[in-house]
Amino acid sequence: MRDTTRPLPFFRAARAVFDLSLENMIWSRRSLLMALLVGLPAVLALVYRGLLAADVPTRAVPPMDLYAIIVAIFWICNVLPLMALFHATSLVADEVEGRTLTYLLTRPLTRPAIFAGKFAAYLATSLGIALPSAVLTFFLLATARGWSGLGTSVPDLFRDLGVMALALVAYGAFFALLGVLLRRPVIPGLLFLFGWELLANLPGYLPRLTLTAWLRSLIQHRPAQEGLAGLFGQVQPAGLSLAVLVVASSLFLTAAAWLFSEREYVLDQ
């Protein structure tokens, strides 16, 4: 018989919160919109294959160059951070907004376990949307001109899947912290993404203060870009990039969990 005066063990509690949050998160309009956005390249790749098969004269970029643009610019720099922003900021903020946080906090669950369960649900949802899309897009484009040479491109796929997962963890951790800190975190989050993160295109040491510069350094694709990004693009050593992202994610997550545990939430009546 469980001692009802003590909270549930961490992992059991986190698992229960994960199950509850996953159901709400996957079947939300937010996820549907993100699935459409993240899955767009797979549709584009299908159209590309169709045009190649129909022998329609086009001035399209080569298939693997298109894949490089999709990974380096569309997913890593834009859509995945956006997905992290919309999902991770809502982990706690939505409960506060919907005034349902009280129901969670009055359960025999520790606050870190609630946070861990919710973050795990966010990761499962976002990875479940993003990674299949990457796999489908890769195979559609890599085999657009036949199966020969596919093996030489496969290491890129594995690396891209890893970097996409890391992008969702790093941005997710940062936006989860923002969601715990602020009542309305979306606008500051958007400013961070489309303001602060643009520092990655500047020369000097400023790009090291952004997440996108470290993430871009981990992928092998370097599509030609115009403007500042084209002229001053920097690539950091892969080992250092990995270390910085892991440390930053851990710090953001720890800070978010600690703040969530310590903070007094006064809900509007």
Binding site: D19, L22, E23, M25, I26, W27, T58, R59, A60, V61, P62, M64, D65, A124, L127, G128, I129, L131, P132, V135, L136, F138, F139, R145, W147, S148, G149, L150, G151, T152, S153, V154, P155, D156, L157, F158, L161, S217, Q220, R222, P223, A224, Q225, E226, A229, G230, L231, F232, G233, Q234, V235, Q236, P237
Partner: protein, 352 residues
Amino acid sequence: MTRSRLVLSVSVLIVALGVVAGFGALWLDSARAAVGPLPGEGLVFPADTHFVMGFDVKRVVASPMWTRMASKPEMRPEGLKQFETMTGLDPARDIDQIVVAGRGGAGKTAPQPLVIATGRFDLEKLSGTMGMAEQAEKRQLEGTTLFTMTKENEKGETESSTLALLDPGVLVFGPTAGVEAVVASRSRGETPLTQNTELIELVEGVKPGSTFWVVGDSTILAGMPDRIPAPGMGGSGSSVGLNLPPLQSLTLTGDFDPELSMALTGVAVDEAAATKLADVVRGLVALMSLQAQQKPELAQLASAFSVSTETNTVLINARIPYDLLEALQPKKKPAPGEASPEAEASAAVTED
């Protein structure tokens, strides 16, 4: 199982299938390409090779650049015409891939490189065509047919080149001594190039699926100029110029379809040298932009380049449309007595 878990299971299944298919392709493909894009046949090149380059001929032939070259006979390289005449081969039809390896040097002092072509060759027909050539001497070496052609160079020295038919899918051409060494290595089952670990490492790093690629080690790059004239100094031979940091290795990959795209990776001695080299390239790109008032195409060309650095590595990417390349070509001056298009147009207006 809840609906959300079903969705997750489907996602996991797709990713798992992709990973399995990827490993399958990796395992099956490794048999075809020995090192990066280099076919197994290329490993018989000598160990003292300083550069290797490769062309995916099928993709070159399918590219808009080939179509443009075909429409302008003067753009077809003389060497290619000689090769076609001598062997009776049609590169567009018979060759899949060409790999060239050499030992550097500049201009006419450069030793002749070795060329390996893979494709579909009719040995009997090729033997017949080569055998009929007056200057070709046919002989056998370790079971391989060799055709040696001897000629005198400008200095009066005798030079000999040899073409060997290794098998119906592989042909090797180059200086006689080099080809004989390749034939001997092949018959003994040796792969001398694998001893050149520096070059092999560079080949392994070539971007997969490139239509053309070139890798060169520090030895070949030692012959490159170490300074360029500073802006405004012209080519007057003045000692004032920009020092170029030496490069340890160079990798160039690219495609011809739908436009000319290239990725150049140069490894410098250290981070400072890489930054300096990148700055020089950025300066040249900026100069191009400044010249845009005289020639607007230069602004477009400048925006086609992107430069970045990664510790001691400089990465230069470029995507240049063919229309831009044509616009940058110097306008052909009309021959004496031949009216320029503008003159013809004004004459037509006057007649009206």
